[in-house]
């Protein structure tokens, strides 16, 4: 029993999500509110029972105006839109598992009993995504943007160039991650790429974004929102809904701590949701979490190993590469669905523990999400 479990533990008792689109017909505020309504319904919770709020409003939209309620949503906006009077609320800095970590602390210290967490992303077709036109760059970026380095995953492309060179990894091997994302997306009606039939040839012939990352190695920017309801495990047991426990969490600097604190090894994990904003990210985690030796992930993932039915089904909802770029809320959602046996046609049989990781390899969280009993 780890320290969190001794305190009683926390649980996710409901989840809701909107459709995913690149042609939004409404404001981000509307998407976020619809996600919360669906989450409340899923949890069987009245909104007046909600006494906590956690959000992650940052980077909701790179290319639009940063107007609260129109293309991003703050805690203030959501609290007033939903008519909440929370005892505890906070906006965190962007990573979905950071929201969960904050909510977990609030629940375990008794600051509140039912937290709603919201993540919403906004993209409008035609917006110039990720482009930089500013002529004056201060702060840390003064050492990078003057060299045209930053947008489009340049940092991660450099990481992959080194990984490939040191380990003899190839694009054909990396395609296994993209392929799994697109294959799994076909089983997820919300996924942007739900009708995809991407082939290796199409992948290899697609244009470079930042070599060695091609178009399909980058997740697609979308509009969509999802929301979850968290409470303590003891309160979760009083409600008549399936729930998932947040068994353990650790910062990505100590990836195996999440497994250790849960008393588990990678062999106990039935399904993985690994953040795939760029296709190369999961390489890092298969190695860091012990699924394979260092430098061996590019071989480990071959022959269907990470697809449904394989050794460790990964990103079973399609991941960001298949579902769309929701910055990790899709990963958490899928972990909840899998351990509560609600994943429908993509359900992995008998999943007791799922692993979720959100963020780039150098800025990340890891969590073990387990079937609630």
């Amino acid at each position: 029993m780890n320290a969190t479990q001794e305190l009683g533990g926390t649980a996710i008792i409901g989840f809701g999500a909107t459709e995913i689109t690149r042609q939004p017909d409404d404001t981000i505020g509307s998407y976020a509110v619809r996600a919360v309504r669906a989450a409340l319904e899923s949890a069987g919770l009245d909104k007046d029972e909600v006494d906590g709020y956690v959000g992650a409003p940052g980077l909701a939209s790179y290319a639009t105006n940063h107007w609260d309620g129109a293309d991003e949503v703050s805690a203030e906006y959501m609290v007033s839109s939903l008519g909440l009077r929370p005892r505890w609320s906070v906006d965190t800095s962007g990573l979905v598992l950071g929201m969960v970590a904050a909510a977990r602390g609030a629940l375990l210290t008794g600051a509140c009993q039912y937290v709603v967490g919201v993540r919403a992303l906004y993209y409008r077709s035609g917006a110039k995504y990720s482009s930089v036109s500013s002529r004056e760059i201060g702060g840390s970026e003064q050492f990078t943007l003057p060299y045209g380095y930053g947008p489009g995953g340049a940092r991660h492309a450099q990481w992959l160039s080194r990984y490939n060179a040191l380990n003899g990894a190839t694009r054909e091997e990396l395609f296994a991650i993209v392929k799994a994302g697109h294959e799994h997306a076909r089983l997820n009606p919300r996924a942007y790429w739900r009708n995809s039939t991407l082939t290796l040839d199409e992948y290899l012939e697609s244009r470079w974004v930042v070599e060695p990352l091609c178009l399909y190695d980058c997740d697609i920017p979308v509009t969509g929102a999802a929301a979850f309801i968290m409470t303590t495990t003891s309160l979760a047991r009083t409600r008549d809904v399936p729930f998932a426990t947040v068994t353990s969490m650790s910062n990505g600097f100590h990836p195996r701590t999440a497994l250790d604190d849960a008393g588990l090894t990678h062999r106990d994990i039935g399904v993985c949701q690994l953040y795939d904003g760029f296709a190369c990210f999961p390489y890092f985690w298969y190695e860091a979490l012990g699924f394979c030796a260092e430098g061996a992930a590019h071989r480990f993932i071959q022959d269907g190993a990470i697809e449904l039915g394989g050794r460790i089904p990964t990103n079973t909802f399609g991941g960001s590469l298949g579902e769309g770029r929701l910055h990790g809320i899709g990963h958490l959602h899928e972990a909840y669905l899998q351990v509560t046996d609600q994943a429908g046609p993509r359900q992995v049989v008998n999943v007791e523990h799922g692993l979720v990781q959100v963020g780039a390899p150098d800025r990340s969280w890891v969590a073990v999400i387990s079937r609630g009993v």
Partner: protein
């Protein structure tokens, strides 16, 4: 070129950029534990000492990562262009981000030995870029 983003030096970074104007590549050195620090920080990340001085380095380095930017994300750049990550041989732990110049894109490789070149963007800005070292051992 005229549309490219320019660095705006601050109290911590001004010596770096003024050094480049006189063709000197400098990084910070902790006066307490001698660790090399770049990009400049308010303190040494090893011992938290705030007394950091500027030391000139040779400009020789090894490519530890690279990418070829093909989509025109940043104004003023002509795609494709190469951005290298260079580990300086006489400043342990320091890596610079820079453009790779003077050779075909295909010449870039992990482990390549490179040397700094000073590229003048305008009268007030010189960037530290890197080219293949010609006399590599």
């Amino acid at each position: 070129m005229k549309d490219r983003p320019r660095p705006v030096p601050d109290l911590h970074t001004e010596p770096y950029w003024s050094g480049l104007l006189s063709e000197a590549l400098r990084v910070q050195a902790c006066e307490h534990c001698d660790v090399r620090v770049h990009p400049s920080r308010p303190c040494c990340p090893t011992c938290l000492n705030t007394n950091l001085s500027w030391v000139e380095v040779s400009g020789s380095g090894v490519v530890t990562g690279y990418c070829i930017v093909s989509q025109p994300f940043v104004a003023g750049f002509v795609t494709p262009y190469v951005v290298v990550r260079v580990s300086l041989i006489d400043a342990l732990g320091v890596e610079l981000i820079a453009n790779f110049t003077g050779s075909a894109t295909a010449a870039i490789a992990i482990g390549a030995r490179v040397h700094v070149v000073f590229d003048e963007i305008d009268d007030n800005v010189v960037l530290a870029n890197f080219k293949l070292e010609t006399n590599a051992a």
